[in-house]
């Protein structure tokens, strides 16, 4: 932050110093288009001082198709009579000839990222491991001058993206926590978990459906099988299916994605298997309707009203349809339990369903319902993750307040 500010002040100063000259010198045409034509005619007169110290080197953290060029601005950049308006970056694979313009930046800039395409067929193909020479052309409105040619440089790819170090470390630490606590759980260490109302209600709701002799509706949301919320919901589904099999209630799982269809069928099957009643599983209890959001919802709403489902569970990734489902279920008089990772939809679930699992609670629910020690171990790891976040936040806030920017920057991601 601070460095940027100082840089800004410098730029400001430079611009203010140039202003009077601009007022005098500029009368026509852009530097970009008309300027080029003129410059070719009149390159000697009033040429600005040339940029110096041109250095080209491989651009960091990339796939090896870019070179970054840096230079010392012209002495006339921001001062002098022949004020510089812009720089052009020229490149060639020969140190003497064949230079072509690769880009243009406004005055006051001292570096340029020359990035090209990866594919050989592309017009803008930028070969890796091939030497290139650069020079910089400083342009005023009427004239230009060129720097000396840089030393050769070639582009190459990197093995590690240093800008993502913080992500790498955070992921490594959290993975370690998960492994550690799962291992502890394996060894039989008892773990306490606080009660969550929505999760306790699941059992009760299944019992109610059994008493009423009406089906349970389970909606996995509109996410794909690769969405984390869908995965969490699939786990819960298999636990619910197990209980449903035990109580001998019927389960309806209409889905909105073909791949989710297959994994949902397997999850339900696994639940029936765990309950010791694999023969009671009916394949048509999980079926595909359509992948189009509102068509899917219209069908599910019809289903609720006609089948008069006793219990509706909405767990997974939900979008605008959340309230359409929840209100219709409410009209049908169903007990409703919801949970989603879509923050924008949580308010509607809270307003229109009986219990709502907020964000992370959805992910915790699978472990709660199974009470399997391995899964509970992961919950403990999540809590330690939170402790780490809180400590980082406190220290980071303190550091930001005291302007210890280096600490705050540890968390910065430079993509």
């Amino acid at each position: 932050m601070k460095n940027k500010f100082v840089f800004r002040n410098k730029v400001l100063l430079i611009f203010f110093l140039t202003l009077p000259f601009l007022l005098l010198g500029l009368n026509t045409s852009s530097a970009q288009e008309a300027g080029e034509v003129k410059a070719l005619v009149d390159s000697s007169a009033q040429a600005p001082a040339s940029p110096t110290d041109v250095v080209a080197k491989d651009a960091p953290n990339d796939n090896g198709h870019a070179i970054v060029v840096m230079w010392k601005p012209s002495a006339d950049d921001g001062a002098g009579k022949n004020n510089v308006l812009s720089y052009e970056i020229l490149r060639s694979d020969n140190s003497d000839t064949g230079f072509v313009v690769r880009g243009m930046v406004p005055a006051g800039t001292n570096q340029y990222l020359d990035r090209g395409a990866r594919e050989k067929e592309d017009k803008n193909y930028f070969p890796s491991h091939k030497n290139f020479y650069y020079k910089i052309r400083a342009k005023s409105d009427v004239s230009f001058s060129e720097s000396k040619v840089s030393a050769p440089a070639y582009a190459f790819g990197q093995w590690f993206h240093t800008g993502k170090t913080s992500i790498f470390l955070a992921t490594a630490i959290f993975t370690f926590f998960v492994l550690l606590f799962i291992n502890m759980a394996k060894k039989g260490k008892e773990l306490y978990v606080r009660p969550i109302a929505g999760i306790d209600a699941v059992d009760e709701a299944i019992g109610r459906a059994t008493e009423m002799g009406r089906p349970i509706l389970y909606i996995l949301g509109l996410g794909s099988a690769g969405d984390l919320a869908t995965i969490a919901s699939l786990t819960i589904l298999s636990r619910v299916a197990k209980k449903v099999a035990e109580y001998q209630t019927s389960l309806l799982v209409p889905v909105a994605d073909p791949v989710v269809l297959t994994v949902a069928q397997e999850s339900v099957k696994a639940g029936y298997y765990d309950a010791g009643r694999p023969d009671a599983y009916k394949e048509d209890s999980v079926w595909y309707i359509t992948s189009m959001q509102f068509a899917y919802v219209s069908a599910v709403n019809g289903l609720m009203l006609r089948e008069r489902t006793a219990t509706n569970l909405y767990l997974g990734a939900f979008y605008a349809e959340s309230l359409l489902l929840a209100e219709t279920g409410n009209i049908a008089g169903s007990i409703q339990i919801s949970g989603t990772d879509q923050v924008a939809q949580i308010p509607f679930f809270i307003a229109a369903t009986d219990y709502t699992l907020i964000g992370e609670e959805l992910y915790a629910a699978s472990a709660y319902l199974g009470r399997e020690p391995l899964l509970l171990g992961a919950i403990k790891a999540q809590d330690w993750g939170k402790i780490l976040i809180m400590i980082s936040l406190l220290l980071g806030a303190l550091a930001a307040t005291l302007h210890f920017d280096f600490f705050v920057n540890l968390f910065r991601i430079k993509l």
Binding site: T171, I358, E360, K386
Partner: protein, 205 residues
């Protein structure tokens, strides 16, 4: 063989893709793109299973005379109309395929979406009762925000200020905390899948 190899694929695939994220090399990029193609291609082939499922369930409803069974003929007619019209006449604008899309799907989608205006009102009426502290906070905040569109005379100034403050302070804090919780829960879930601890999605036999 039925179990171990698929779980090994999950583990190796997961590990590789997670590490790939940190390697900017060109071959890593290409593998990433190739892997995303895998997901798309598997999805395309699975679509047949989806259509089969819809067809079979609709047919079963007709055969068993389930509630509203007769309407399933309409579903099947719509399905086959699209499946035939698309390849037969093309899917460009102006072709029957797109005409059905624009005059059947689009108005129904827009109307379903518009139903939300009614449901949001009835949900607010029913749920926003000051029964508990939590419900009270919810209802008061929502009301303050909704009041921003209503002329309140001299109270509108403070209301505007309150709306901006709520959105940029407590609302921001809530969003960030929820995001962090979801992040932790989501990564833990993904790790459980990669490590093979969570595998009910593969069924049992």
């Amino acid at each position: 063989m039925r179990w171990q190899y698929p779980l090994l694929i999950v583990f190796l695939g997961g590990l590789f893709m997670a590490v790939q994220y940190f390697v900017p090399l060109e071959f890593s990029e290409r593998i990433y793109e190739y892997a995303l193609d895998w997901i798309i291609i598997v999805g395309v082939f699975t679509m047949c299973l989806g259509l089969w499922s819809l067809f079979r369930v609709s047919l079963a409803k007709i055969q068993t005379k389930a509630p509203a069974w007769g309407y399933n003929y309409i579903t099947l007619a719509g399905l086959f109309a699209m499946l035939i019209l698309g390849p037969a006449f093309g899917i460009e604008e102006g072709k029957p395929f797109m005409t059905l899309f624009w005059y059947i799907y689009t108005p129904i989608q827009a109307s379903m979406f518009a139903l939300l205006a009614f449901y949001i009102a009835s949900a607010a009426y029913r749920a926003f009762r000051a029964r508990t502290m939590i419900a009270t906070i919810l209802l008061v905040t929502a009301t303050i925000i909704m009041l921003r569109l209503i002329p309140l005379g001299f109270l509108s100034g403070p209301n505007q200020w309150a709306v901006n403050w709520i959105l940029t302070v407590p609302n921001m804090a809530a969003k960030r905390a929820i995001a962090m919780g979801i992040g932790l829960g989501g990564i833990a879930t993904a790790l459980k899948v990669v490590l093979g601890i969570e595998r009910s999605y593969m069924g049992k036999d």
